[in-house]
């Protein structure tokens, strides 16, 4: 990142190679998959505009995801679109599950349960469990405090546990 700030094209290419995946997953959470490639490019352009605000003491990916998230939210606001509820489908394919049948059931149940969570809890849980960020990183990405992030994750997990308990009783 520092080399990129110094004007290195090679550094930019390397940064893109390492971070385009997470950036695309981030924008896909807020938009449909047909727009994700364009939004990913838009996110990198805004990252390029904002590169002066990166300091070496900051973790790179949360800084980039904060901007990518902003780009995706701007897209939703200007297009007047509702937040996509089923965007977790593609990314959940990447999550490892044991057997094919259990995988289908588990994925479907998880998606249904995730849809019922408030957006801030869903986002916090997603960034924790799927993307593997710490609460500090999530605070940087979303602009919330670390304490608020931890509360959101805890509440999301509690609601999912309760939801899965109800689903199991129903089977």
């Amino acid at each position: 990142m520092s080399a990129y700030q110094q004007g290195s094209e090679t550094a930019f290419r390397e940064l893109y190679g390492r971070t385009a995946g997470p950036i695309e997953r981030c924008v896909r959470r807020w938009s449909d998959s047909s727009r994700s490639a364009d939004l990913t490019q838009d996110a990198f352009l805004q990252i390029h505009r904002a590169r002066r605000t990166y300091r070496p003491d900051l973790p790179v990916l949360p800084w980039m995801l904060a901007i990518a998230r902003h780009v995706a939210l701007q897209y939703i606001r200007t297009r007047g679109r509702r937040i996509q509820e089923d965007q977790s489908d593609d990314a959940l394919r990447d999550a490892a599950v044991d057997s094919a049948e259990k995988a289908v059931l588990a994925r479907h149940d998880l998606m249904e349960a995730m849809k019922e969570l408030p957006e801030d809890q869903r986002e916090a849980l997603w960034l924790t469990e799927v993307e593997g960020f710490t609460s500090g990183d999530i605070a940087r990405i979303t602009g919330a405090s670390e304490g608020a992030v931890r509360v959101r994750v805890t509440r999301a997990r509690q609601k999912l546990r309760g939801r899965f308990a109800v689903m199991e009783q129903g089977r």
Binding site: G17, G21, R55, H70
Partner: protein
Amino acid sequence: MTVPDTLLAKVTADLRPVRPVWSYPVRAAAVVVLAALAGTSLVMALGMRDDLGPLGSPSFVGVVAVRLLAGALLVWLALRESEPTGPRSEVGVRGAVVLGVILFLALPFAFAGMHDVPPAGTVLGPWICVPRILGVAIPSFLALFWFLSSAYPLHPLRTSALAALGSGILAEAAQFVTCPNADPLHSTLGHGGAVLILAAAGALGGWRIARRRRQELSR
């Protein structure tokens, strides 16, 4: 993953080396120092208000200190928000509104009975205080906007309005030290009005940043 050609072309067209921005506490300190220099110049040029006796030194110092702290805090909050990973403080924004109400609506009326009406001819109308406050705010206001435009606030309109509000309150503190007009309406309309004008100018600047960004994203 390889970089798409269109993206690479746009990035390499503007790939000059850039220096990282200063951390937000350093930028905030720079703005406060500029505001202090401008305010001190005004006080040295015009002298302090002559109703300090009835007003009482401790309460006068306290009121000025509240203004300086409030202005500095708002500048600090705004510059913190100007970074993509800077936390957004809802408490800060609400506090700013409450503070404005207290400083320019409640406090002037609370202090109104504490001193005599100044002699005729010494009363300043708001048409004198407003340009003075705006003038004193210029250095800090311009510095703030230079810092904000080189940063990347995710909510430019709100961040710019907060920053300008802080700059305005710092400038108003200086004018408060010199202005002999203790009429509460003068404080509210003249001094408070000038601060609101600055906040509105800040919001306008933030709106322009947001509009330029939306235009870039919609292309």
